[in-house]
Subunit: 402 residues, 3 copies
């Protein structure tokens, strides 16, 4: 085991004031791939909370060659993500609560087997089963064909295998773990958008943070869009489960959602033929731009919350897909630069952002698993505090037609 540690550990370095150990799991530049790999707090003799981190190469069906990294924390969360699928989060578990959902797609599909253009631009649906998908960064929303180009559903990031993956563990307690992955959306003449994704987790805690830095590496200004498509189901989602967030405005995505506008923030039990309703939300934030959104179970003793920064992610989409369990009983809390309309509409309506040559922008989101009533109440209070006296305006008419 010692040998493996020496072989794969790149360096102990000072990051700010914190000494840490780094393992390079994947690197296209040096053509590195650790394949199956494992470390644990025991090996590291780090003391403190018990944890392990594992990378596994998957086999079978359309997941042949896909990699999954799993962080296991005995007293905290188990977090699984896939470097092969754009560092997306597969599922998170802890305290008997699961963040994530059951998609009809039950493999970690290697993008080699996906054609994003299939089914008129929704090939992405052949791989979609994550708890959190980055929809971006060249474009983010529903598909649209313009000048013969199909802007496929939810962009290319999630179907882009990470070019570099590293795991960093702080030497000192609480031994924060970082799993970093570099996504390159590089196409000659078209884009050079590179994103360093980062997952930060302190063993034993009930929260983790996504911290992504997107850089326009080209010499030309380039549009970008991002939606953090974060998906929750049972045991949180259930009849009378609630979505909460401090809001300035809510509007239905389309005419079908308009029919559900009255009870938009309350969920039904699994409902045949429900399909999906989507609501566009303008979040309110505290004086620092920070806000929070959450889905809570009926009883109010389980939930999932996402804290984010409205300077980075000014829009929020709520995806209500309370269809049957097998069809996908799931809700999405989706902070973004944009709504989920096609890029043509988002552009027209002025929500598409741009990065200048060499410019970077960052996105920080903290996900919490709310394991009990106390945790839920804390989030409810936070939402109330931010909402304050402001009323949420309800726009009846969809702001755009696809």
């Amino acid at each position: 085991m010692k040998k493996i540690l020496l072989a794969t550990m790149i360096t102990a370095f000072l990051s700010g004031q914190v000494a840490a150990k780094t393992w390079l799991l994947t690197d296209a530049e040096s053509s590195t791939e650790q394949g199956n790999w494992h470390i644990s707090s025991e090996q590291l003799k780090s003391g403190g909370e018990n944890f392990s981190i594992e990378q596994k190469v998957l086999h079978g069906g359309k997941q042949e060659g896909s990699k999954v990294i799993t962080i296991t924390s005995k007293n905290g969360l188990t977090i699984a993500l896939s470097p092969t699928r754009g560092m997306g989060l597969l599922h998170v578990n802890g305290h008997g609560v699961r963040l994530g959902w059951d998609s009809p797609v039950d493999e970690v599909v290697n993008p080699a087997y996906i054609n994003l253009e299939s089914r008129n631009g929704v090939g992405w649906l052949e791989g979609f089963n994550e708890m959190m998908v980055r929809c971006g960064f060249e474009w983010t929303g529903h598909p649209v064909t313009k000048d013969g180009v199909i802007y496929t559903l939810h962009g290319k990031a999630e179907n882009t295998p990470a070019s570099k993956v590293e795991v960093i563990v702080d030497d000192k307690a609480p031994h924060e773990i970082r799993v970093r992955g570099l996504l390159k959306e590089n196409t000659f003449k078209k884009a050079k958008l590179e994103t360093w994704t980062e997952l930060r987790y302190v063993p034993g805690s009930d929260s983790f943070t996504i911290h992504d830095v997107l850089t326009n590496q080209s010499d030309y200004a380039h549009d970008y869009q991002i939606i953090y498509h974060s998906n929750f189901s049972t045991p949180i989602l259930e009849e009378n489960a609630r979505f909460i967030a401090p809001l300035k405005e809510v509007s239905p995505f389309n005419d079908y959602a308009k029919q559900g506008l009255e009870h938009w923030s309350t969920y039904s039990a699994p409902t045949k033929d429900f399909d999906e309703m989507v609501f566009n939300l303008v979040p309110l934030a505290d004086s620092n731009g920070k806000t929070i959104a959450a889905v809570l179970n009926s009883k109010g003793d389980k939930g999932a919350s996402i804290e984010f920064d409205t300077h980075q992610l000014p829009r929020l989409t709520m995806w209500k897909n309370t269809d049957t369990l097998k069809q996908g009983y799931v809700t999405g809390i989706e902070p973004g630069t944009n709504y989920a309309y096609p890029v043509t509409i988002e552009k027209e309506q002025g929500r598409v952002k741009q990065l200048q040559p060499g410019q970077s922008t960052e996105f920080t989101l903290t996900y919490s698993l709310l394991k009990d009533a106390a945790a839920v109440q804390k989030v409810e209070q936070r939402v109330k505090d931010i909402q304050g006296e402001t009323t949420t305006s309800v726009v009846e008419k969809p702001i755009a037609v696809e």
Copy 2:
């Protein structure tokens, strides 16, 4: 060798009354992949007919990573199939006769290298070289674009790597071998059609059976279509080779086939510029719905037959592709739920079947290599018996225009 047997043998179980050994070669759920693998009757000390079963991972060109399973029976058949290519049968050989053909595509193409949408929906042709391809199950026929969606040639099943593959050998003589593979056509919001394919073979015999169970795993009714595209060439196909089947009706697929209607059931030698003619057939069956179709060589001492059930597969397509040897000198005997028209036409004409939520349907086809005149005559007699006094009506005009 013992070690391998122990490591890969999952269980000896009672299936009905027959104890059997099972080897799990591939399993996405447990992320299992045996890679190169081999067993033989000698190892199993099973006695009886000599046989071996081998899995090999292929390399080179577009077949990188494709897997092939080969059953070899000294006194019977050698059967090769590919789990990577939807459990399709590559070729079958025995007694100096070959079932299969020579396609210009001479590699076992990994679907990772195939874009089904290319060439206006006929990318499937870049991998097609099998003796038997499942064309299905979401759709089956010629490509068509509807509402921007390309329903690509012959569906997705054959380009779907199997999610689970197991080999089962009965403990008792005659030691029937079963190779089972699970195909998942699962797409969020679109389909959850899962098919357990099965090949059954008794070592030493000249026949094998395909037994597939298709299940609609979703909560919604779903259309399905299947054509078992079974392809034969030399040494059976030759000038004056004949196609036989008990038939109620024959009609030309299109105007070009109409020109060949008169001699539709007799084959020419390899013929430049012949291209292909397709004929739609309505098979007759015995009182149990069972029927048979066959292609026989000129002399009547070699052939291939397929027995199938018209309750499961009420239609039959005969594909006459007697072009040059290099272009593909081949005929298809294709029992199906449908003809090969685009799904739009099949739907319109009422031939598309549907499965209710959770419902399964099965397809059983027995393929026989007819090694001599006696075997051929037996099939001829069977065809005559089923045909009886019924005349085959010849419809001159194509029933649809693509």
Copy 3:
């Protein structure tokens, strides 16, 4: 090491009068793949110039599984090519000069991750970073959609993994090295175009030769097109770098190039918003049909030249992409059967060639790294000699509109 040599060396044979050793690195037919592999002149005890040849399987990002073969010659050139990417040349280095360029695409992208049809037929740009790409052979130029079929940018060859790869080293000094790769563009009913590509290099020299043999393996005549897209950047390309070639005619590819016609053969420094200008050239040749084209640096002491045969490759395209360094500061010297117009236009204007059944055609191009003023002057003189008294006619109007 001896063991490896024995294991991988196929045969010592007599080719003409020269005995040689052959190593089979990849072969789909026998399902061979050597993976990481290495030989050196020391091992071979060949004497003479020091050299080594290595194959490496790459990892990370979209280059997972891509292979690169690198020839290293201490006193000559280092040449890298990728069997996975159609035997394309990645980059060549020697004497402080680099042939090649810096694309925003910085991985050796496995074609499994490329959809040539994406972005309306320019998915090829997601992998393009080679020093030399074969654009062919079914078609070669800019994308066009005809009868629903997208003829994607620059054809399929570069995204076709080689089916067979062998390395041959002559036993006798100067131990010429040949790296041969077989590309199969085989699609049932569409094409059976097979190309044996060959790179020939004599260790220690500053030149190498590409010798490709394209065969129409089908029974039908088939069109073919090929452009050898050869790309150069710094340190050769710079402000006042020059393109030279003996020419009968030059015309702008389109109206934008027309604006740059006056100074078409001189290059600018990296220029923002330059994008690309393309010029169609009709080369002059000596009495044997041989000609040469080159790009030379400003001072005239560095350059790259390509000798080719106008009987094989009657047209020449000059691609001037003097955009910024990060966007791709690069020029293409592109001998071809055709210009880069879509196949529909090339066909209409009569430049598309055809191969009869079984017919082969070959292409021989010698690339030289010009390391000093003497080497540059020799090429300049050769161009002058071929040009002679003939004036180059300048056609002002583009010969076609895309």
